[in-house]
Subunit: 366 residues, 2 copies
């Protein structure tokens, strides 16, 4: 983790109101409630749960997710998996097509270190590359990534899924681990149709499919509608954000991350400028036209971000408007990308700092 | 700087084509040409030049800018200034309203360390806060930030500028340093009108105005049209990016930063997925509807980014389309925010790595 020798961010007992800004803060009680509520849902429906650590990148939080009942974790790149393996996690699924000599070598070393490493593939090219690396070492478990409508990676049909599964099954050094998808929201029926059909084809070919992994926070509480799935993956649920409120997944009161910012300028009656720009909130819109919800000022609109400034339109606000020097809290559009900008995360309960965690897997490429 | 103990990024002599992805790379020759061309323009017009280090956050590059003839540097926050002061830079302008006890204390310590620290203010609140800190220590130089149409911070009229300058002039612990603005592009006439009028008002009040600092890369080569200005500030020009090509500031061949990415999936004939998402390219659109220019595939459109994936629409491409495993280069929409995501920057000449620099001021808040 990067050490900023010039600044001690915070220590337990500090008041959040006294923190320098911009600074994302995590409400411990909301965090714990988000973890508990989601795990209870998964338990109720007999689904294994695999939190995606991209949202927080903090081993201590993954440990809390595992302690609550999660079966393993989900990473998006090898470097994240390396950090979490070093922290003691043994069941790690990397949901990415791994290609290229350096990455394959590091994947091999990682597979030697932990028992439960799994990756995905959606093409013969990826499978053949994995096989050429793992034929001569400890076998690797590979799931077939399916595009059930999300429009990102993934084989396009259940037939392709079956064919690629067979290629994995037959490839030296590889073990077929199952099927995986990252769906668009509210698509349980299409997901079930795709995965159910693929399972039938696999069964007809005599290929066992240990895992069927569905994912996403927006439709998390509809995960049980995909009866083909054995597990669900989700990241954002742990902090929640404005996009999850809009998706109906949670309320604003479930958003554990706020970004603390200071009003540094009030050039006009209708304009406030804060010290949180795209290097604190990111430019992720996720379909919104503005950059976050200002807590306590529901009519304030964050209309623009430059790198270190955010511009807020107050024209729809009444007489109560934020003044220069005032600290405000913002619910960001997208919490996962905010985490990725800060080397440390401050946690609090009722406004008093409880701990400061290093965002251990932040900034690691590959 | 963050040390990723799991990955050695690159070393001099490595071929860029062999680097693991995603990875921004800087072309040394383009970088040098950008620095030389801009400095020559400023010299030709007798303008002092103050590069904004937010774009690269690398002391070694600022040293090259100073060696070329720049008079000092521009930072956007105290932490950046601290890093550059520690690296030996003595003329640093922080273009931000500094508010809050911790920041003021650090600003005081920084002012004690270097001779040429300067900040800006656009309100009595900011000025009074600075004065209360600096009344009892080495005086601080403060410029008045003017909003000449950029719509961010700044006093709204030349009269307000004069009044705030007078407040600074009269405030214990502060020295009035001049006027500053961050204009919208192609607004030289309005900038000149505002600043020229403010200078007349200051002169009438007998207040000396040592610096008039104009800024921005998009209209950099029109800086001479603002005759009131004594200096110009710019950051992006050093690397350039897609938004600067669109602004007419440069050509694609002047873009020193490319983001190297690998095609990891070709789910359909018309879709490629790369390993550069919003955590490599950022979501900055800057008015574009897509997320960068794919070098060599001008018809390819990066239509969407998730965190670690970029989705490219190839439907307008001919038969030559990027294949799985192929490395492509992307000119990002906005280079400054890409720098902010990586702990190290790789430089190359003709595809051979020349050096790897730590992005020393990356990730520092405040």
């Amino acid at each position: 983790m990067q050490q900023n020798s010039f600044a001690v961010v915070a220590k337990p007992g500090d008041r959040v109101a006294d923190l320098s800004t911009p600074r994302p803060i995590i409400d411990e009680d909301r965090l714990a409630a988000n973890i508990a509520r989601t795990q209870a849902y998964m338990d109720r429906h007999g689904l294994n749960f695999r939190p995606h650590i991209k949202t927080h990148k903090i081993p201590a939080l993954a440990a809390e997710q595992i302690a609550a009942g999660a079966k393993g974790i989900n990473c998006q790149k090898i470097s994240e998996a390396e950090v979490f393996a070093a922290a003691g996690f043994e069941d790690i699924l990397i949901t990415f097509n791994i290609l290229g000599a350096q990455k394959l070598e590091r994947l091999g070393a990682l597979n030697d270190r932990i028992p439960g490493l799994k990756v995905v593939a959606d093409s013969a090219t990826t499978v053949d590359g994995l096989s050429s690396t793992f034929a001569s070492r400890k076998p690797l478990t590979v799931l077939v990534e399916c595009d059930t409508g999300g429009g990102r990676c993934g084989v396009q049909t259940p037939e392709e899924a079956k064919n690629l599964a067979k290629r994995i099954h037959d490839a030296p050094g590889l073990s077929f681990g199952g099927l995986l998808n990252y769906p668009k929201p509210d698509s349980a029926e299409a997901v079930q149709a795709f995965l159910g059909k693929a399972l039938l084809l696999l069964k007809a070919d005599g290929i066992a499919c240990p895992i069927v992994s569905n994912g996403g926070t927006p439709s998390l509480f509809e995960a049980h509608l995909v009866s083909a799935a054995t597990e669900h993956r989700a990241g954002t649920y742990v902090y929640n954000d404005r996009s999850m409120v809009r998706a109906g997944h949670c309320s604003e009161d479930d958003c554990a991350m706020h970004v603390l910012a200071t009003v540094v300028s009030r050039p006009t009656a209708d304009r406030a400028v804060i010290d949180a720009g795209s290097k604190a909130l990111t430019s992720d819109l996720l379909g919104f036209s503005d950059f976050g919800t200002v807590v306590g000022y529901p009519e304030a609109v964050i209309t623009g971000l430059s790198e270190e400034h955010g511009v807020i339109d107050l024209s729809k606000c009444g007489n109560k408007r934020p003044e220069i020097g005032e600290k405000i809290r913002i619910i960001p559009n997208h919490t996962c990308v905010v985490s990725n900008l800060f080397d440390t995360m401050v946690f609090h309960r009722d406004g008093v700092v409880t701990r400061v965690e290093g965002v251990a897997a932040r900034g690691l490429v590959w």
